[in-house]
Amino acid sequence: MNLETLADTLGLKCKCCWEKLKSTEVKGGYAGDLLSDVMANSSAGDIWVTRQVHQNIVAVASLKDLAGIVVVQGASPDKETVDRASKEGVPIMVTDMAKFEVVGRIYRLLSEG
């Protein structure tokens, strides 16, 4: 599934890299707020669901070739985070939903194909 379809279906708001959504294939997902955990256990092409907002999340996503980041619970990524994400080509999306709900919905979407 491409990231645009996923974002539209869940009503996610995109903060940067709109132009990449359609061409970005989401292969799976990972959820977590501990950066070393995400570093070790996420896979390339995963959509990453997190509550973290500071700019280090961009480094993690870009180093691991993740599909993009979904920031949950109405948290708003720092301006520096969005700037860096635009520069490095990492799509960041936000939602008011809690992590549990976002992860459940993404999981269902991806398993239905």
Binding site: M39, A40, V58, A59, V60
Partner: protein, 147 residues
């Protein structure tokens, strides 16, 4: 392995300033870029990216300053991280998953799970960590390129 001299295959030296979380990850990105376009597989590049990131973050979190050096040999990539900092008194303890001395300011940023050194070890083929309390820490990670 400590005696091995890779100096002829030095690809880059990167300086890291302690406590500078704003620039965190920049050295790892540079290292990743240096590895691309050289016929190294994406999955190996990602392993090296994890190793470099965790080493970089530890220098930023715990040391005054440090350097990361990247060596590219025909059959392996070597990452060396050197810092001037407090050092690690008990290396076995530091290598236990979950052990962390990170303070609240570090934890707020999502670090401090006590997983970084374990990750480096897990993603390395050869891993070496030595330290002198009050002086600094030296880490070397070797990732083989052929299997």
């Amino acid at each position: 392995m400590s005696g091995d001299d890779f100096s002829e295959s030095l690809e880059g030296i990167y300086h890291i300033q302690g406590r500078d979380f704003v620039d965190a990850g920049i050295v790892s990105s540079e290292v990743k870029k240096s590895l691309q376009g050289k016929g190294i597989s994406e999955s190996i590049i990602r392993r090296i990216a994890v190793i470099t990131f965790e080493a970089e973050i530890n220098i930023i979190s715990y040391a005054e300053q440090g350097t990361i050096q990247l060596f590219i040999e025909p059959d392996a990539v070597i990452i060396e991280a050197n810092d001037a900092g407090p050092g690690i008194a008990d290396i076995d303890l530091a290598l236990q998953e979950g052990y962390s001395t990170a303070d609240d300011s570090i934890r707020e940023l999502g670090f401090g799970a006590g997983m970084g050194l374990c990750n480096i070890k897990k993603f390395s083929d050869i891993f070496e960590l030595t330290s002198l309390v009050g002086q600094g820490t030296y880490l070397r990670s070797i990732v083989k390129l052929n299997g």
